[in-house]
């Protein structure tokens, strides 16, 4: 493989900021959503970027796995989805920010919302999910994401408090237990509950 710095068009002493900017510029050109899509070249650029950044920071807090570039996905943002799936949220955001404003589809807003949601920027995420549903109202994925945040706003999470360990006997349990006992009894020739 060529020198990763050469692939990104940088000198070996380039700072993290310069590396990220160069990556963003190249992604703007060669990624699936860019002006001159070139999957093979994009793969090379991705590998170079990973090598430089991983080599500097070791293993960051995010969980890394082998990058899966699902170019079989028909939508343009497949490589960004792959990054999100493998936990590389920072890289996904870098790629997303590289897409020019005029090219931003409903899916772009959904993925941007997903990344921001993960970061903890919940209001921006809600705004992006809303925009995604506005641009593509028929998509269930975007609708689900938006409606989840909307329902959280009313404080509904409190009713979902887990009651683990407090498994008592409710009225339903007693009634269905008796019905089962009655059926078994009748199978044996008896009759526990005469009216059933």
């Amino acid at each position: 493989m060529r020198d990763p710095f050469e692939i990104l068009g940088l000198s070996p002493g380039a700072s993290d900021e310069q590396v990220k900017n160069a990556y963003r510029e190249l992604a703007r050109r060669y990624s699936d959503a860019g002006s001159m899509p070139d999957p093979a070249r994009m793969r090379e650029i991705d590998t170079a970027y990973d090598e430089i950044i991983l080599g500097r920071t070791g293993n960051g807090g995010t969980s890394y796995s082998e990058p899966t570039y699902t170019y079989t996905v028909p939508n343009d943002l497949g490589d960004i989805r792959a990054k999100i799936k493998s936990g590389k949220f920072d890289d996904a955001e870098t790629l997303l920010d590289g897409v020019p404003v005029s090219n931003r589809t409903a899916e772009w807003y959904y993925l941007k919302g997903t990344v921001q949601h993960r970061k903890g920027w919940l209001e921006e995420a809600a705004r992006n999910f809303e925009q995604a549903t506005r641009l593509d109202p028929s998509n269930p994925e975007y609708r689900q994401a938006y409606s989840n945040i909307k329902s959280d706003r009313s404080g509904g999470y409190r009713t979902e408090k887990s009651t683990g360990g407090r498994s008592g006997c409710s009225g339903c349990d007693i009634c269905s237990g008796l019905l089962c006992a009655d059926c078994c009894c009748e199978c044996m020739g008896g009759d526990l509950i005469r009216c059933c």
Binding site: G61, G120, E123, D152, R153, Y157, K161
Partner: protein, 281 residues
């Protein structure tokens, strides 16, 4: 800033309440040992929560033993066993946080109003230096957060997320410090969301006070009228608390799980209710 993340006592089991108090008392003794008796007056429930959350996920078993309060020898209290590392860390964080908060308050108030705080500053500067010797990263984390917070609040276009980001990030780093791998990543997110809750709750409480004094408030200029602003603020808090609850569900704390649940599900809701009640008076 302080005292917004608390337990809701009525829904807490007695054993859990005693454990919570035990952590508070242990932290008090720890601050006294490391930083002197006067420093103990700075203890509050926010730091207790940080200590509790760290102890909940620490590997070593933390039990309690009976002891007596140093301030009031007639009062019994519980002391943590095996929690020294975590308590020391939180004590250091407390000293650094108090120092930076003092500096911030002095900058924001006039000479006379800030006079008492100016007297206290040299004392806490010494404590902060000691804390920095023991845990240099703590000073870095909190110092950076305070300066970033200051920068963000000077911008006129910062949204809710950007405004809460520095404090939230600091809390995330303080909670996850010393842990590794996936636990660290999850704790960082929990800390982030908890820090975000504290920041937003503080802003929610001060919406009208800050308007009067023309101080920065993240909910300023949102909504056409007071009711809309309040509703929006409550919505943001609910969304954050819901996400925090979800994140907590995914973790399996080794201990104090029910106390943490109480804080997230009942404590936050109760704090919001209290703020609203005070406002209507």
């Amino acid at each position: 800033m302080f005292g917004y993340v608390k337990i809701y006592k009525p829904e807490l089991k007695v054993k859990d309440y005693e454990a919570y108090q035990g952590v508070y008392c242990s932290l008090c003794k720890r601050i006294g040992k490391d930083y002197g008796q006067l420093a103990r007056l700075t203890l509050n429930y926010d730091f207790t929560l940080l200590a509790l959350a760290r102890l909940a996920f620490a590997e070593e078993c933390c039990g309690f033993k009976n002891s007596r309060c140093s301030f009031n020898p007639t009062k019994k209290c519980q002391q943590c066993i095996n929690g020294e590392k975590e308590l020391s860390f939180v004590a250091a964080a407390a000293m650094v946080m108090v120092y930076y908060k003092l500096c911030d308050d002095i900058n924001d108030s006039s000479f006379f109003k800030g006079l008492l705080k100016r007297f206290l500053r040299p004392f806490f500067s010494l404590k902060r230096k000691k804390a920095r010797r023991l845990f240099p990263e703590v000073d870095e984390i909190i110092g950076k957060a305070m300066s970033e917070q200051d920068k963000v609040e000077k911008r006129s276009d910062a949204g809710v997320d950007a405004s809460a980001h520095p404090s939230a990030t600091a809390m995330g780093k303080l909670l996850s410090y010393g842990f590794e791998g996936e636990t660290a990543a999850n704790l960082e997110r929990i800390g982030y969301l908890a820090g975000r809750c504290v920041y937003l709750m503080d802003a929610y409480d001060d919406i009208y006070d800050d308007k009067k004094t023309s101080s920065y408030n993240v909910f300023n200029n949102i909504g056409k009228n007071e009711k809309e602003t309040e509703e929006y603020a409550e919505g943001v808090l609910n969304v954050t608390a819901a996400e925090l609850a979800r994140e907590l569900e995914g973790m399996k704390p080794a201990r104090f799980g029910e106390i943490l649940e109480n804080i997230v599900y009942d404590g936050m809701y109760n704090t919001m209710k209290q703020i609203k009640k005070e406002r209507c008076k």
